[in-house]
């Protein structure tokens, strides 16, 4: 399976039952024999308020991108509402650099199910969906099997563990769209529509799936909850730094000796993560830059990386922890090319719903292709910055920001590289136009 050989500096909480190498997902018998589903047993004895308080105390923050405090999000749901209340798991995992949710689903599907149960209990919900990106068919099958086992053993169904409480859970496959990771677009997709975002407010806590109160969280966020209930919020908070509780999965990729997914406490120094756990920059080269939280996060120069990797410290450094994806660039990396590739990505994935994003990403893609091919002008560099600045905060959903943030930070921090490419002698040869024989 996917996990790397464990590193001594890791703190294994979420991944503590994983063995290396592990062949199959942890089955229900093994899970139950190792404290599995004890969290929901305990939660069933607690009031919803007490569950949410424990999650608040843990200072668990969303692992999907925005880092919103999870307990607070859950408390926004009106538990007394006559409408049904829903649990939605965001397993769309589309942010470039991110590859952790699959590790959780592949190794220990029951942990996610238990997290959903506890969340469901805390808002009086009777139904949940796990929205998994379509390419992850293998993990959808693993989750389906685990869900069937959980039903058979009475952890899911009309009478969860004899408590009289009903909770149903199923998977829902996506079909190829980054935008469907944005929570309101995901809910549209869940309803069988195009993944266009919704106007907020109302937030999903008020009007979410099928216009009912809903909580949407990332796979890793839900998966952290069983241990919080078992061992207490204070214990979990103590694993990290103030306001940034617990451990997280970091997805190391790029120019590294030991790329992989590892579990580290929040607040571990970024350079320790890269140099110790990730084995340092490959080929004996020097570090140039780090993308600390997925492709949408502003880039950090090597000298800015000596900071604790948690939500607040990265925000202070002008970037974000995002989805926990850390992409490492060595001294030979071509910053202009990286940004050009990213803008092509955002232009492709923009859903077209709002004009600033649809037009903005398309133009950023074109201008950056020009700069990358060596036919751009100085004016183009300024235009990237201006365009991104005027897009930022003015799009319907955060996809526009996700494109603007890297654009602004790359041109500001590595302007010399953009300028160097202007003077390159490279002659522009347009890519041959291949007319598709068959348009798929």
């Amino acid at each position: 399976m996917l996990l790397n050989e464990p590193h001594p500096l890791e703190s294994r909480v979420l991944t503590r039952r994983y063995v290396y190498p592990q062949k199959d997902a942890i089955g229900i018998d093994q899970y139950v024999s190792q404290q599995g589903y004890d969290g929901i047993r305990k939660a069933l004895e607690m009031t919803p308020e007490a569950i949410i308080d424990e999650v608040k105390k843990s200072s668990l923050r969303g692992r999907g991108g925005a880092g919103f405090p999870t307990g607070m999000k859950w408390s926004f749901v009106d538990r007394k509402s006559p409408k049904p209340k829903y649990i939605v798991v965001n397993a769309d995992e589309g942010e470039p650099g991110t590859c952790k949710d699959r590790v959780i689903m592949e190794h220990e599907p029951h942990r996610l199910i238990e997290g959903c149960l506890i969340a469901g209990r805390s808002i009086n919900s009777n139904r949940g969906w796990i929205y998994i990106r379509g390419e992850y068919r293998k993990y959808i099958d693993i989750m389906d099997r685990a869900i069937a086992d959980a039903y058979a053993r009475g952890f899911l169904g009309d009478n969860v563990l004899g408590s009289g409480w009903t909770f149903h859970l199923s998977t829902h496959t996506g079909a190829g769209s980054y935008e469907c990771g944005e929570e309101s677009a995901l809910l549209e997709s869940l309803e069988g529509k195009r993944g266009n975002p919704r106007l907020k407010p109302p937030f999903p806590a008020t009007s979410g799936a099928f216009q009912c109160p809903t909580i949407v969280n990332n796979v890793e966020t839900y998966s952290a909850v069983p241990d919080i209930i078992l061992n207490g919020g204070d214990w979990y908070a103590g694993l990290g730094t103030p306001r940034n509780g617990g451990t997280r999965l970091v997805c190391l990729s790029g120019h590294l000796n030991r790329p992989g997914v590892y579990e580290v406490p929040l607040g571990m120094n970024m350079l320790t993560i890269i140099n110790e756990i990730g084995g340092g920059v490959w080929k004996g080269r020097k570090l140039k830059a780090v993308i600390p939280g997925g492709s949408s996060s502003p880039i950090l120069r090597a000298e800015e990386c000596d900071i604790p990797a948690d939500y607040d410290s990265l925000a202070k450094a002008g970037s974000m922890l995002g989805s926990g994806a850390t992409v490492v660039l060595d001294e030979t990396a071509d910053i202009v090319k990286v940004l050009s590739r990213l803008m092509a990505f955002y232009a492709h994935e923009s859903c077209g719903w709002c004009i600033p994003c649809r037009e903005g990403t398309a133009w950023l893609k074109k201008i950056l292709a020009r700069l990358d091919e060596g036919v751009g002008t100085k004016n183009d560099i300024d235009m990237v910055d201006q365009l991104a600045t005027s897009m930022f905060g003015r799009t319907f959903c955060a996809l526009g920001d996700a494109a603007a943030m890297p654009a602004m930070s790359y041109v500001r921090k590595f302007r010399d590289e953009f300028e160097a490419k202007l003077n390159s002698t490279q002659v522009f040869v347009p890519a041959p136009q291949t007319q598709p024989l068959v348009v798929l």
């Binding site: 589309g94 997709s189 529509k193 120019h255 590739r341």
Partner: protein, 160 residues
């Protein structure tokens, strides 16, 4: 239109998963699972799904254009999807993709004349720590090299 008993059973379960009257929620999963069985979203499939979910055909057309995994044209038996997004690009994804084009003699979203292979340059497939990565249908292949790609394609050819 008839489907395999497994797919029928899946459809029956799927529709149960959504609130009463909101069975349209099953639309995208149904289209994708059905496409996997019959190869593409054909006009007959479209009509059948519209009937079963009580939606208008145009509602399905809207969705078809949006999701990249749904297709009206059958793909090759082995649909090769090479990621060239950032983590893969940094570790040789673009070279891998160019190599795949050369090896198969086709370009992006094309398929070979014998219908065995189709190729697509895709965005991040969530395998960044094991980059460069690619998919053949739903099977992931990690830490790819042009040599590994050659032997993979050769072995798929032999499978015919």
């Amino acid at each position: 239109m008839t489907f395999s008993p497994e797919l029928e059973a899946r459809f029956a379960r799927l529709i149960e998963n959504y609130p009463p009257g909101r069975q349209k929620g099953a639309l995208i999963p149904m289209l994708l699972y059905a496409q996997d069985e019959i190869g593409s979203v054909t006009p007959e499939l479209l009509a059948e799904v519209a009937k079963r979910l009580h939606v208008k055909q145009v509602e399905i057309e809207e969705v078809l254009g949006y999701y990249t995994m749904l297709t009206r044209e059958p793909r090759g038996k082995h649909h090769i999807q090479v990621c060239t997004n950032v983590s893969c690009m940094l570790t040789g994804g673009e070279e891998l993709y160019a190599h795949a084009c050369k090896k198969l003699g086709i370009g992006n979203r094309q398929k070979t004349a014998d219908g065995q292979f189709s190729l697509e340059e895709v965005e991040c497939i969530g395998a960044c720590s094991w980059a460069p990565a690619m998919l053949v249908n739903y099977d992931f292949h990690f830490n790819m090299t042009p040599e590994k790609l050659d032997s993979l394609i050769d072995s798929l050819r032999k499978m015919q």
